[in-house]
Amino acid sequence: MDKIKFDAWVGIFVAIGVISLLGLAMKVGNLTSNDIRETYSVIAHFENIGGLKPRAPVKGAGVVVGRVKSIIFDTEAYHAIVKIDIDKRYVFPKDTFANIYTAGLLGEQYIGLEAGGDMKNLSEGDRITQTQDAVVLEKLISQFLYTKASEED
């Protein structure tokens, strides 16, 4: 009798635990949504990446299609080389535009891909040649002040 009672209670306990963990994975975490498994990686060169970080989302038309894998500084050309993992399900033309945008006013930065018109598609190891840097607020403000000052002259 006692044995059955212990077994039953431990069974219930473990079941609640498994349900909680599944609940965390499915309802709270992102295991079901944007699950990126097989990827191909491409690189892009930027003059300035702003606040872009590894694992930042890569979006096409607002949909998450990949993630930033790594960011390194190239000491020969003095710019940043960003490695991007894109989901195998999504293909982009070779002349795709890669821009660094900011989500919201103070949000995190992400890479937005805008498809070009090339017939060939990007494949493993390719380089995205057309890129646009992150907007640095200080630069923008100083440019604005500079043009204001020159107008007054």
Binding site: F6, W9, F13, I16, A25, G29, S33
Partner: protein, 262 residues
């Protein structure tokens, strides 16, 4: 001069005795690993201990998780509302619970609820010479008494922590969505967008597993090492709570810095 030497003697003694205890605890840990074959061959032994450490802790875990979640919901709402982003309340509650509060508070409650019981039980067994009696009957007390309790603690802790996180999030949901009226869709979708399975949930489970090992080994060691008197057992029980709490908080910092840095 004499008092100076006395002072250094005291410092030296406290340092060496601590190192000695740490060594004994480590040896006990390896003894448990060596003798743990029986606790899986006769899983009924471990099962009974999971019942006492895990199932009996469910009530305190669920009730405190619900309140912790509700408080997080309230506090978070009043702060986030100032910045006009009260929808982010789901992310705040979920990340705080899954990453930190779930494993840590569960471990602290576990040390208080189950750790003390383990220490007192084993300390009393030693005081009444039940452990020696077992040895006389050629039964290894580490394999028969201690290893099942160790594995029960290690198995129960991650399950309790997962339950804590889930119930806490439900508590936050009750306050934020049902009582205050934050949009339900935003609550869950923001949460799903920002909680990563690998980086947040799995790391939380790893944390609770480490805390489970630490908590149980401390409770077992204090009981096994207790002087066989009423006073000794009571002191050992107190030490279990104090040491476990400190070790949990210290380990939490170390684990977090590894997980975030690495």
């Amino acid at each position: 001069m004499k008092s100076l030497i006395n002072f250094f003697e005291k410092v030296g003694f406290s340092v060496t005795s601590r190192i000695h205890r740490l060594g004994t605890a480590t040896r006990l840990f390896f003894l448990i690993l060596l003798a743990s074959g029986e606790s899986f061959k006769r899983f009924q032994l471990t099962m009974k201990e999971i019942y006492f450490t895990g199932v009996m802790s469910l009530v305190i875990i669920i009730v405190s998780a619900f309140f912790v979640g509700m408080v997080l919901g309230l506090q978070g709402y009043y702060t986030l509302q100032k910045y006009g982003s009260s929808e982010a309340i789901g992310v705040l509650v979920a990340l705080a619970l899954v990453r930190e509060l779930g494993p840590v508070v569960t471990a602290l409650l576990f040390a208080g609820r189950a750790g003390t019981a383990i220490t007192a039980e084993i300390g009393l067994m030693k005081a009444t010479e039940q452990l020696s009696a077992m040895e006389m009957m050629a039964v290894n007390p580490v394999g028969r008494i201690i290893a099942p309790r160790f594995w029960a603690g290690v198995i129960a802790m991650p399950i309790l922590a997962a339950i804590f996180s889930m119930v806490g999030i439900l508590g936050g949901y009750v306050v934020a969505v049902i009582v205050i009226g934050v949009d339900e869709g935003a609550f869950w979708s923001q949460m799903q967008a920002n909680v990563d399975f690998r980086y947040d949930i799995v790391n939380g489970v790893i944390k609770s597993l480490v805390f489970g090992v630490a908590c149980t080994i401390i409770a077992l060691f204090e009981g096994y090492d207790a002087p066989p008197t009423a006073e000794g057992v009571s002191r050992a029980t107190t030490r279990t709570v104090v040491t476990s709490s400190l070790v949990i908080l210290g380990l939490d910092f170390i684990l977090t810095s590894f997980m975030i840095g690495g």
